[in-house]
Symmetry: C2
Subunit: 356 residues, 2 copies
């Protein structure tokens, strides 16, 4: 998608280096960063210059190609693979991408090994882009239906960033929105700020601005009254993990929006590539919920009157804070799952039918 009028993917290879958009600098600065070594890639994942499961996977794949470029001894690749997997142990796509790369490279000793590694990394990214594109064309149908009835701007609420910046391109929750916009359907997006890390404001609103899609940031508290007033036609969010029974684990606060949507008869959709379905767990209580540093709550970063990045403490010095990163939305509050293969009911049955 576009930034400052130019088309990008979130990661690409050019002149012997891997290039990424440094997402820790957004939205205040747009910086393209070069990764020259596998260690650069590991670090980019660790410090969250890249984030979002699909993009982390893509970065790990290119990271392994960089390892091959540095040193084509298979032992070095093995060591690098291990380190890459450990850079953020909980991301499913990370291990999957590294394993796929290692399988492809196994036993290859020719001077073609770098080309093969780079091709496979690009292939992994291309596939993710295609998945997200399909999510877009499938979700587009829902937006089209609403537009046909309403014949006026379709108001869509989203939470956090399940946008193209979290993937290689298109995003998951945003992909139907981008497809609708490209088709000329007037859309307006309510963007939940998404405390504590504000990825809604920092990333989703940022990327929608750059694609010139009308959007308005709201406090996470605001979605309820907007739905009561009929100012939300549908919700679309992403997910970190979808259980085999259709329960959806996503960024903290998603559950509250699903409740409000249910209470006001607003359709609530979850967009996901099938790679995030967890076929093993079917009880939400078994999902480990990440608890992060409370400083993400008590301190906020922004730019001051001199355009300088500044971090400030916003809480009383004596106060404690608790920072849970995810919550679980029971399947009964989810209108449908928008996947690369089509839309299905959020249930064991619905998922089984689509992914036999």
């Amino acid at each position: 998608m576009r930034i400052e009028g130019k088309e990008y993917r979130t990661i690409w290879f050019e002149n012997n280096v891997v290039k990424i958009i440094d997402q820790t600098k957004l939205p205040h600065q747009f910086v393209i960063k070069e990764l020259k070594t596998v260690n650069d890639a590991i670090n980019a994942i660790k410090v969250m210059e890249v984030r979002g499961a699909p993009l982390i996977g893509g970065t790990a794949a290119y990271g392994l190609a960089l390892a091959v470029q540095e040193n084509n001894d298979p032992e070095f690749s093995k060591k690098s693979a291990k380190e890459l997997i450990q850079s953020r142990p909980t991301a499913i796509n990370l291990k999957w991408a590294v394993d796929r790369m290692m399988k492809k490279l196994a036993g290859i000793n020719s001077n073609k090994i770098l080309d093969i590694a780079l091709n496979e990394a690009k292939e992994i990214c291309d596939e993710d882009e295609k998945f997200c594109e399909n999510i877009g064309t499938n979700g587009l149908k829902v937006i089209e239906e609403i537009y046909k009835k309403k014949k006026d701007t379709v108001n869509i609420l989203t939470h956090c960033n399940a946008g193209w910046l979290a993937t290689i391109n298109w995003g998951t929750a945003t992909s139907p929105i981008y497809h609708a916009h490209k088709k000329g359907i007037p859309v307006h997006v309510w963007v939940d700020e998404t405390r504590p890390r504000n990825q809604g404001a920092n990333l989703t609103s940022y990327e929608l601005n750059e694609e010139e899609i009308s959007n308005t940031i709201i406090a996470d508290n605001t979605g309820g009254i907007l739905m009561q007033r009929g100012e939300v036609d549908m919700c679309i969010v992403g997910t970190d993990r979808t259980l085999s029974n259709g329960d959806v684990c996503n960024k903290i606060g998603t559950y509250l929006k699903a409740l409000a949507a249910h209470d006001n008869n607003v359709p609530f959709y979850v967009a996901l590539p099938s790679s995030t379905i967890d076929w093993e767990i079917n009880n939400a209580k078994d999902i480990p919920i990440e608890e992060r540093n409370s400083e993400e709550l008590s301190h906020v970063e922004g730019i001051d009157e001199n355009n300088q990045l500044k971090k400030v403490l916003i809480y009383p010095k004596k106060s404690n804070a608790k920072n849970l990163a995810f919550d679980v939305t029971p399947a009964k509050y989810v209108t449908g799952l928008i996947t690369e293969k089509g839309i299905c009911e959020a249930s064991t049955q619905g998922l089984k039918e689509l992914f036999k």
Copy 2:
């Protein structure tokens, strides 16, 4: 209640001046400010050095006493009364307190007029304190019931600041909590940060800290999963306006917590003095919802590494934001209304029985 170990009310008269706690400086600085003239009082209300309907009423009453102290010409009092009422036109208690003062002072020409004015202002504050105390003893019963069953720390979630800093003393939603704590019942409070103005973090957590009541600030997104996990035993919030049918208008985001409480069988109480009941309106759609400056969302104030107050822009420069200040929680999601006269059902019937 206490700040830095010393007992305070939010407003008092001492050495010919009215003293207030400058709430724009909290939680980072504790500053007592002197109001010497009626204009000082008007300004304190306007710039929100004092806030919360009961405290605004008390400040207006003392403001009129200051007017009398400056100039005991009845014309000056009349002019001052008008200006006070206009300082924040929507606060119901403001006009009520000024009218009561003017009625008391009407026709008095003796040199006792200042004493009478000061006594009446103190009386208004004393009455509010008594109302809040009664809300506390009534709400205490609910906490006691939970404690009897659970025999362990009672976890209470609150939203925004309906604390003593919004009243003269005790607060509304916090009063049952303070009473339980004083009685030795172990309580822990989950404090919703309450974006965009963060009054939960800035004021509620601050005042609970100063009373040494265990509390934890959470993002507004977090209450849902805490309730799913059984980590919330009850919710208590305040209200800006309660409709005669029991619907509750309160700080934006209250509705989402009420939905989560309902979904998880957590009791959801609203604490209020009967003065905030709106006997005229019985349709939530007729309540005007204040929309405030979007800068309250896009800019955040805190202290930097040099302990200096600093305001930073946290949103992308191109982004728009919408800042609705209140939402409405339908009566069906409210377990009960805790008032100075007792606890009643949130319904026309319930309110009528208690306030015939």
